[in-house]
């Protein structure tokens, strides 16, 4: 039986895992390779790096981090942040990433999704959608949630799937950082519109929030950052809880 996936996400800046709010007051949390390896051995089903480097040498730094991670971590690695072209995507894949998440560049040039899917296969093209609630639904935001591009998030999700995205990483900008749970209505609405897997993101505060997101008709995977940091919850604890809720998960050996 296909298991629901639990994916810890690490924010990486200049080759270090950082934590902070709205890209300010970043605190150094450790080495991304060590942290990814620790998550993998604890039973993470995949690991995700979100590169938030704002310096000119950011691209080279994340490539080196990906290379070192691929040498040490044997679960799938998704890398997002700063990928703007098929050449960028190829560089990240060749360094050892399995999937690449594209966001702002895809919104600006939707055909990038199709080009990447054709060249590398849909399976490695993840489109990250940052959505914020409006009176009537959700709109897509770019640049870390700062820019409302006035595009309906559900229409955009459907278009991404048509263009060849292999997976959608759906982040609720409203819930992100609140620890009050995922935006379940957003997940259900996206799931009704597309026929590709959905990763829920934004708002996880407890194992119960993950369970809610993984119920049928919602997400196929859950991404979470802060609940795993500094061992607030272990991957094993989270999976124990998901299993107790009848959600199929892979248990670490």
């Amino acid at each position: 039986m296909l298991r629901s996936r639990v994916i810890p996400c690490l924010d990486v800046a200049d080759g270090r895992v950082v934590k902070g709010t709205n890209f300010v007051d970043l605190v150094d949390e450790g080495d991304p390779v060590e942290m990814a390896a620790a998550y993998a051995s604890a039973g993470a089903d995949e690991v995700c790096f979100l590169d938030i480097t704002a310096t000119p040498h950011g691209a080279e730094t994340i490539i080196e981090t990906v290379r070192r991670t691929a040498q040490n971590v044997f679960v799938p690695l998704t890398v997002g942040g700063g990928v703007r072209s098929t050449a960028d995507m190829k560089a990240v894949l060749r360094a050892g990433a399995d999937k690449v998440a594209i966001n702002s560049a895809a919104v600006q040039r939707p055909n990038l999704i199709a080009s990447c899917a054709r060249l590398f296969g849909s399976q490695c093209v993840v489109v990250a959608i940052d959505a914020r609630r409006t009176a009537s639904g959700w709109t897509v935001h770019t640049h870390g949630g700062r820019t409302d591009v006035q595009v309906d998030a559900l229409e955009w999700a459907a278009r991404c799937a048509r263009l060849g995205a292999g997976e959608l990483l759906v982040t609720s900008m409203d819930m992100d950082g609140t620890h009050d749970g995922y935006d379940l209505a957003l997940l259900e609405s996206v799931a009704r519109r597309v026929d590709i897997p959905i990763i829920a993101s934004g708002g996880a505060g407890s194992p119960d929030d993950l369970a809610d997101a993984l119920r049928p008709g919602r997400a196929h995977a859950v991404l979470a950052a802060s609940i795993f940091h500094r061992d607030r919850y272990s991957i094993a604890e989270v999976k124990e809880h998901l299993a107790s809720q009848g959600i199929p998960v892979r248990r670490a050996a």
Binding site: M1, L2, R3, S4, R5, A40, D45, R67, A70, Q71, N72, F74, V75, P76, K90, L93, R94, A95, G96, A97, D98, A117, R118, L119, F120, G121, S122, Q123, C124, G166, E167, V194, D195, I196, P197, I198, H220, A221, R250, A253
Partner: protein, 206 residues
């Protein structure tokens, strides 16, 4: 000294497979982008990245089609690399290597790709022919699957919703796995260690 050739067909992540083969006991892993690179190796891995059309174009241009048809040592095809072993794929409507008889078809389920950790159910008669299969679940990410004409090559099957498909095949020294052993944690490394052992034994016997 066990040397494994890892075929580079142009797209995607080779680093993971290269490192995983080292972890699995290969003394040397050579990434080859031309058929001449296969000379002297003890085993060949056809990795599972990219899409079928572009992958076959690259293999054809680099002379791998003839070389792999002539090669009679251990060969492991992974994911798309497994699919390339068959006659033809409906992905990109592409003629493939034809080392195994059958066609590659779309998975009949939703959503696609079939993405994540899933089981391999081994067939009693064949399960022992590929070692490490009891170490699952394994990580899958694919939308197509081979439909072998000769059902006797099927070692294990996987079920995603209502579709049960061949996820592990073997005919002689040719093995195909639909999942990614290099992305399947310790269980995947067990499977690769079995393949490396097989390469070592074949080399020793030669």
């Amino acid at each position: 000294m066990t040397t494994i050739a890892l075929i580079d067909h142009g797209a995607g992540n080779l680093v993971s497979m290269e490192q995983a083969l080292h972890r699995a006991g290969a003394d040397d892993v050579v990434v080859v982008d031309a058929a001449t690179g296969l000379t002297g190796c003890d085993g060949v891995v056809l990795p599972g990245v990219g899409a079928t059309g572009p992958a076959m174009r690259t293999l054809r241009r680099a002379g791998f089609v003839g070389a792999l048809r002539a090669y009679d040592g251990p060969l492991l095809g992974v994911c798309v690399g497994m699919q390339l072993l068959f006659d033809h794929s409906l992905e990109d409507r592409t003629d493939c290597l034809g080392l195994l008889a059958g066609e590659v078809r779309a998975v009949e389920a939703s959503p696609l790709p079939h993405m994540g950790w899933n089981d391999v159910d081994t067939l009693a008669s064949m399960g022992e022919t590929v070692s490490g299969l009891s170490s699952g679940p394994f990580y899958f990410v694919h939308s197509f699957v081979p439909e072998p004409s000769d059902r006797s090559i099927i070692v294990g099957t996987t079920t995603y919703q209502a579709d049960t498909f061949a996820s592990v095949v073997r005919r002689g020294p040719v093995i195909g796995v639909q999942f990614h052993p290099e992305r399947s944690a310790e269980g995947g490394l067990d499977l690769l260690a079995g393949f490396v052992d097989m390469c070592r034994e074949v080399a020793r016997a030669a």
